[in-house]
């Protein structure tokens, strides 16, 4: 109700927010990382202290995020917590941060997931200092991408999150970690080059020499240039999403990364791609995006269907999760391509929901793989007999990934299908077919992992430990909360989506 009354008065007096909150969310992890360099890390006691310190920093960021979220709820589509300082005035770049309803939920998701990742990192024993430094730098990078309103700043944060991710996979990952890490870096560098090229072309083509996203929004470009820029921005984001056929890096990387890093990878890194598409392609180059929408729909559909078929064929548990996430991101792309308010709302919601769900899945999968001593689904079976708590959590996570009513993904998927249907009446039902197949693959996996007679070799498997259980229950609580009360996020997502979609842009 309050939403509807607020609509005519979008030019209400802007609320004064303390501007340092956002900078705090971005830079506190980095400061903590620098401080961490001076910690000794010789004994177990030292390492425990390091971990507590890192967790404290992450909790502070989470606290800031919640406070910001609380103060943010009355916003009507404008940027909040804006902070603009001169940085490189010579080339027209400034330190410009701000959040709206699209980035705020994702920022909050990031704050939550890094806490869960920090909690899940208790297994890291060797080089734990380096590990936590990298994790904190990663958090700065991810939060920075969500918060920046300046293309140059955006690009720098984009790079900042890629480097620690590469190192974390390469140093702390599974048996084929180097292979996966290099693939990740190669694809990321290729994408970044295109992103930088796009930013520079935009910079030189605009009459005002500035990198500011908000200012550049009003620039009118010739149609061909705008279309080219749309493609140039789209490709790096889409690779990150990931889309078919550039998804292989993602499947490998998340299967090889250590569990907490895999959690960040599936929960946040791929969401950067989705965020980029919604923020830049849909928000800034709407007309250009409209011209390439046919191709985007085909890509989205291929992504959903390919991931569905590949999920059926996949015999490795952690890789299977990769395909499930990929199919959800395909849906996000479909929603973005439809550019309908309901669908884009659903896309943001689904990204948050999928972040939570995938984080839970990755953690549980790592726990199951560790106990079964193999990643192969065919070699598991009957695990529910030995780990009843783990089985219950895994079942909830699988249902959430399917988009089950009462759990987070349901409303997101529903909104995407309802919103995208009017503009894409063939693609949307086909995408739903993809959802069915992925769900089938998940249910089949549940059957093969958990049910059936207990094999001899799993007779001494332990159930989840207290910390794992607490982590899982925390995530489940968020998933259920979002599934039962999606309105807590939708109100503010919606106004920014409307603002994003109603101002025509991109010549």
């Amino acid at each position: 109700m309050t939403l509807l009354q607020a609509i005519p008065t979008t030019t209400a007096t802007p609320v004064q927010f303390p501007t340092l909150l956002l900078s705090g969310m971005v830079w506190i992890p980095a400061i903590a990382a620098i401080a961490l360099l001076f910690f000794p890390a010789r004994t177990d006691q030292h390492r425990d202290r390091i971990r507590s310190f890192v967790l404290a920093a992450m909790f502070v960021v989470l606290g800031l995020g919640v406070v910001m979220w609380y103060g943010f709820r009355d916003q009507t589509g404008t940027f909040a917590y804006e902070e603009s300082r001169g940085w490189l005035p010579g080339i027209g770049s400034s330190y410009h941060l701000g959040v709206d309803g699209v980035s705020m939920p994702l920022l909050l998701l990031s704050a939550f997931l890094f806490v869960f990742a920090g909690l899940a990192s208790s297994r890291i024993r060797e080089q734990s200092k380096e590990y936590f430094v990298l994790l904190l730098v990663l958090e700065t990078g991810v939060n920075g991408v969500f918060a920046s309103l300046d293309y140059l700043l955006f690009f720098l944060f984009w790079q900042l999150q890629a480097v620690p991710m590469f190192l974390l996979i390469a140093r702390f990952g599974g048996p084929r970690r180097l292979h996966a890490a290099w693939k990740f870096l190669a694809v990321d560098l290729a994408g970044s080059a295109l992103l930088l090229l796009a930013i520079l072309i935009l910079y030189f083509k605009s009459p005002t020499r500035t990198f500011d996203i908000v200012t550049l929004h009003d620039v009118t470009l010739p149609a061909t240039t705008a279309t080219m820029l749309t493609w140039l921005f789209f490709i790096p984001f889409a690779i990150k999403l990931p889309v078919f056929p550039f998804h292989n890096w993602f499947i490998d990387a998340q299967a090889q990364a250590p569990a907490p890093v895999g959690l960040i990878l599936v929960g946040l890194t791929v969401k950067l791609g989705g965020y980029g598409i919604i923020r830049v392609d849909v928000g800034e180059f709407q007309l250009g995006f409209h011209r390439i929408v046919g191709a985007v729909i085909v890509i989205a559909l291929l992504t959903v269907l390919w991931s569905a078929v590949a999920a059926l064929a996949e015999g490795d548990l952690r890789r299977l999760i990769g395909y499930v996430v990929m199919s959800h991101m395909g849906l996000v792309l479909l929603a973005a391509a439809s550019a309908a308010p309901v669908a884009v709302n659903g896309a943001v919601l689904l990204m948050v929901a999928d972040g939570l769900t995938a984080a839970l899945l990755v953690q549980l999968a790592a726990a199951i793989v560790e106990r079964a001593n193999t990643g192969s689904i065919a070699a598991m079976g009957g695990m529910a007999g030995r780990m009843s708590r783990g089985a219950a959590l895994w079942l909830i996570a699988a249902l959430a990934a399917i988009g089950f009513p009462g759990l987070a993904g349901f409303i997101g998927q529903l909104l995407i299908v309802i919103g995208a249907y009017p503009s894409h009446r063939i693609a949307t039902p086909l995408a739903v077919l993809g959802i069915v197949v992925v769900a089938g693959a998940m249910i089949w996996a549940v059957q093969r992992i958990l049910f059936g007679p207990l094999p001899e070799r799993h007779a001494r498997v332990r159930d989840l430990g207290t910390l794992e259980l607490a982590n899982g229950v925390g995530l489940v609580a968020l998933i259920v909360l979002l599934g039962v009360l999606p309105a807590i996020l939708m109100d503010s997502i919606n106004f920014s989506v409307i603002t994003l979609l109603t101002r025509l842009s991109g010549g």
Partner: protein, 647 residues
């Protein structure tokens, strides 16, 4: 029973009491019970069972009150709340997207509400006596509460969105019930199959919702009812909508070809199977068609589709039932026949008669499953060939089974005779020969199949098996017997109709613009003759418990499900698996290969594999940062030149 309720409904102050509020309590009570069990009593068997029974009993009380009020004042009522609402104004066009949830009350809902909650209560009382410690009783009661909540939610749904939500929950409860004994491979596989088939239906409903919302901007059943015929959507559009909604209904109510999950319910514990078949998941689809009846009514082709698929399913169901070797599977297939009959009835416009059939067949069907549970527990086998001769050993269960068979088969004056009579009356009234033949044929073969079950279990001599002593068989007793006896009593009386006025269940549940056809003696006589003849043939053929030579040739074909399951398997193994294999080949050879080339060249650029192990983190960081900066500078210079020339 309905008459007694009518007298119990006071005309005074209760009128101001909103019946939808009571219905809301009925909806929420099982959920609250479930949450209490999960949160507090997950470790205590007794307390959990007690909480489950108490909360279900309270639900039954609410349901009785609701039905009493509805009988006194049969008016539709709704109570709506907002689930999700946001503004979708785009460039001047103000719009609003709203998802509502609420409870709906009309005669159909009130009757279903009582059926669901009472069956659930009796099944729980039965389970108190029969479920053993090692069977996971707490999980069983929790799942039963979830199923009750989901089913009442379906019944009380006011709109398609809410229906989808609770359809999902019934899918989950069915999955958990069938997979109750998850250690068995077959149970786990049957549960997965039920989930996936159900999910296909749910997703069809999702697409249907998208389509309906796109055309009407509305999802509420009552509001939509007046809009289908408004000319907003072409006949083809309405047909497409009804197909999508019908797929959802068919997946839940086991209509051909989506019936493949129903025999899998034989893997569920007897009580759970009784709930699924009598008032649970399997009835959701019929209820959805009845709820969305305005849509089908507006699309004659949609109605014809419903009738045809229903008729085919009914015939297939009873024929399959005739050839089953497994006791619970045989009963499950007779349910498929009944469900097909209900759907057929809806298709030919027998709206009230179909709802009446739902009500009358619930009790004998539940009773059959509960009796089967006792029999299987005592005999420790589910194979019909290993049974027999129980009439001397289990006289009480035998009598109850006989009542259930008679009531389900439609032998007068037991319950489902009256509803089958009403369905046939409608078919006679509209003069549809195929419908008449199907109804009579299904009644005949259905009676045969039911009598066959009775004959194979109770007549003749008990088959001898190793390590099995027939003398140790004990009849049902205590609370289990009590629950079964109640089911038997209702099976006898549920069909009684007060032919005048509101107490007639068929006149009570009506759909506007669909005339109620009065039953006449031709219909009643035909059904009675068909049912009794079928029972007699069944008795002659199967009472000696020997294979019937005439039926042997078709047995093998039909016992395997008439190639339908094989077709599914062929589709899975022959199409889906090769496709996924091909995709994984493309994935590993082509896509990964191309990416490997890229990553290998990047990796090769600095020979990093050698120094990654030796050098520390700091050098690596510096090196990478330098690389990135260099890349950035090169790109910047190149781009600057490029653009500098053109722009």
């Amino acid at each position: 029973m309905t008459l007694a309720l009518l007298a119990a409904a006071p005309k005074g102050p209760l009128d101001t009491w909103s019946p939808t509020l009571v219905e809301l309590f009925a909806l929420l009570l099982p959920l609250i019970g479930l949450l209490i069990i999960l949160a507090f009593t997950i470790d205590s068997r007794r307390l959990s069972a007690g909480i489950a029974v108490t909360f279900t009993l309270a639900t039954v009380v609410c349901a009785v009150i609701v039905l009493a009020i509805e009988l006194a004042h049969p008016l539709p009522g709704q109570r709506n709340g907002t689930f999700l609402q946001f503004f979708t104004g785009q460039a001047g066009a103000a719009g609003q997207f709203t998802l509502m949830w609420g409870v709906l009350l009309d005669p159909l809902a009130s009757v279903m509400l009582l059926t669901v909650s009472l069956v659930s209560l009796l099944v729980q009382i039965y389970a108190l006596a029969t479920i053993r410690r090692e069977d996971g009783p707490i999980r069983f009661f929790a799942v039963l509460l979830l199923a009750t909540f989901a089913m009442i939610g379906v019944v009380a749904s006011t709109n398609y969105f809410e229906m989808l939500l609770f359809f999902g929950l019934t899918t989950l409860s069915t999955y958990l019930m069938i997979g109750h004994w998850w250690q068995r491979e077959e149970a786990a596989a049957a549960a997965s199959r039920a989930f996936i088939v159900s999910l296909i239906g749910d997703m069809a409903l999702l697409v249907g919702i998208a389509y309906i919302y796109f055309r009407f901007n509305e999802l509420n059943f009552a509001v939509l009812a007046g809009q289908y015929t408004g000319g907003k959507v072409s006949a083809n559009g309405l047909f497409a909508m009804s197909i999508l909604v019908f797929i959802a209904a068919a997946a839940k109510s086991a209509q051909f070809p989506l019936h493949v999950w129903l025999p899998g319910t034989a893997q569920a514990p007897a009580g759970a199977a009784a709930l699924i078949h009598s008032a649970g998941t399997a009835l959701c689809g019929v209820y959805l068609i009845a709820r969305a009846y305005a849509l089908f009514h507006a699309s004659p082709r949609g109605l014809a589709l419903v009738a045809i698929v229903g008729g085919v399913s009914a015939v297939l169901g009873v024929v399959f039932a005739l050839f089953q070797e497994n006791l619970k599977r045989a009963i499950a297939y007779t349910t498929m026949g009944e469900l097909g009959l209900m759907v057929l009835a809806l298709g030919i416009g027998a709206f009230g008669a179909s709802a009446f059939e739902v009500f009358t067949q619930a009790w004998p069907k539940a009773l059959l499953f509960l009796a089967a549970g006792v029999i299987i527990r005592e005999l420790r086998t589910e194979r019909l060939a290993e049974m027999g001769g129980l009439w001397q050993r289990m006289r009480f269960t035998g009598w109850l089974t006989l009542i259930a068979v008679a009531a389900a088969a439609g032998i007068p004056p037991f319950s489902s005779f009256w509803s089958k009579d009403a369905i046939l009356s409608k078919a006679l009234a509209i003069g549809s020969t195929p419908a008449i033949i199907v109804i009579v044929g299904v009644t005949l073969i259905g009676a045969m199949a039911l009598v066959r079950i009775f004959g194979l279990v109770f007549l003749g001599e008990t088959a001898r098996r190793r390590r099995f002593e027939p003398d140790r068989i004990r009849d049902a007793g205590g609370r289990a017997a009590f629950a079964m006896a109640i089911f038997a009593i209702i099976s006898v009386v549920a069909g009684i109709r007060g032919f005048r006025g509101r107490a007639d269940p068929i006149a009570f549940i009506t759909f506007p613009r669909v005339p109620v056809s009065n039953s006449h003696f031709v219909a009643a006589g035909t059904i009675a003759i068909a049912a009794i003849a079928g029972a007699a043939i069944g008795w002659i053929l199967f009472s000696r418990r020997r294979p019937v030579a005439a039926l042997e040739p078709v047995r093998r074909v039909i016992a395997e499900g008439f190639f339908i399951e094989r077709a599914y398997r062929l589709a899975a193994v022959g199409v889906l698996l090769p496709a996924s294999r091909a995709s994984s080949w493309v994935e590993t050879r082509l896509i990964a290969g191309a990416l490997d080339l890229l990553s290998d060249s990047v990796a090769f650029a600095g020979q990093p594999r050698r120094w990654l192990g030796d050098l520390g983190l700091r050098q690596l960081l510096i090196g990478l940062f330098a690389g990135v900066v260099a890349l950035a500078v090169i790109t910047m210079v190149l781009a600057g030149r490029l653009i500098g020339k053109t722009g």
